[in-house]
Amino acid sequence: MMAYIDPHIHMVSRTTDDYQRMAQAGCVAITEPAFWAGFDRSSSQGFFDYFRQLTDTEPKRAATYGIKHHCWLCINPKEAEDVGFAREVISIIPEFLDCPTVLGIGEIGLNKNSKNELIILEEQLALAESTNQLVLVHTPHLEDKLKGTNLIMDAIDNTSLDPTRVLIDHVEEHTIKSVLDRGFWAGMTLYPDSKCTPQRAADCIEMYGTERLWINSAGDWGPSDPLAVPKCRLELASRGHSEELINTISFGNPLDFLSKSGKFSIS
């Protein structure tokens, strides 16, 4: 069985059974971006505890099944409308950045493309710049994705961040080309109802190739599938694509990008 990496999944929202099933399907490593828990936290202390969960608890839970766990830290755009609150959370991020499993800042981005979300995005990009972190970007949902993706790429272009150290996630057919053309890495999220299905992700790979592209499940507390990556691999295999291509998109590419952090390890 070929090993794979799921580079974007929210295991704090998943059961231990999911770790077991992912390991059985060949998952050897995951990375978990900080995200919205489905409710707004009432204090920055709630984020401090969440960051402890991401940097301490989840790596241990994953290790039980032989899966290496890494994470990304930030305040997500859904909780960024209150700028003062968001700045409190940003102020506690630096003390976690030296943790051996923290790969960078993420998933930052936009949700409704508001002015305050953009201010907090810019401040977290500045944090990534000043601390030389990789960046994992969340792009908005549904009707807000096209506009938000363009606003995000413009904001990054206004920094000194190297686009090859930034991955813009949740791309679809209307955003993938511009993200790749502007030099960023791109992620396709495999969801049953929104974002890409495994079949559409396979179509995009056929249209755009595999360079600077990865696939992920973004499994969380909503409709999602922690086994979406192996399902996409099966889709590609059933279409006759080579083992080399499947390995590149689901193992080699995430390994290449994540290794830029200097901290990512699968052993």
Binding site: N113, S114, H141, E143, L146, K147, E173, Q199, E206
Partner: protein, 93 residues
Amino acid sequence: MQDNQMTSEEIVDRYFLEHRAKVLDIAAFLDRIDRSGSKEKDFRIIALLKCIDELQSGDENRTKRILELLSDHSVEPIDIASTKGASGAPPTS
């Protein structure tokens, strides 16, 4: 760019029934709305019907064009995010 490894016939053989079922789901969804007796068409349904028109174009890249039909094309950030959710279609479409 990767070559599609399947022939047209293989693609139809493999995926036709799945997509036949999806078309029937859309038809049943629209019938369900009709049975509810509502005279006003929700903006999301209007957008969906535009997407169905787009499906019948003979051109490639239907998926991209449909996603663009379902997108907000404004360029400036909004003043304030008064909600967290997205509806799936821009209200003005």
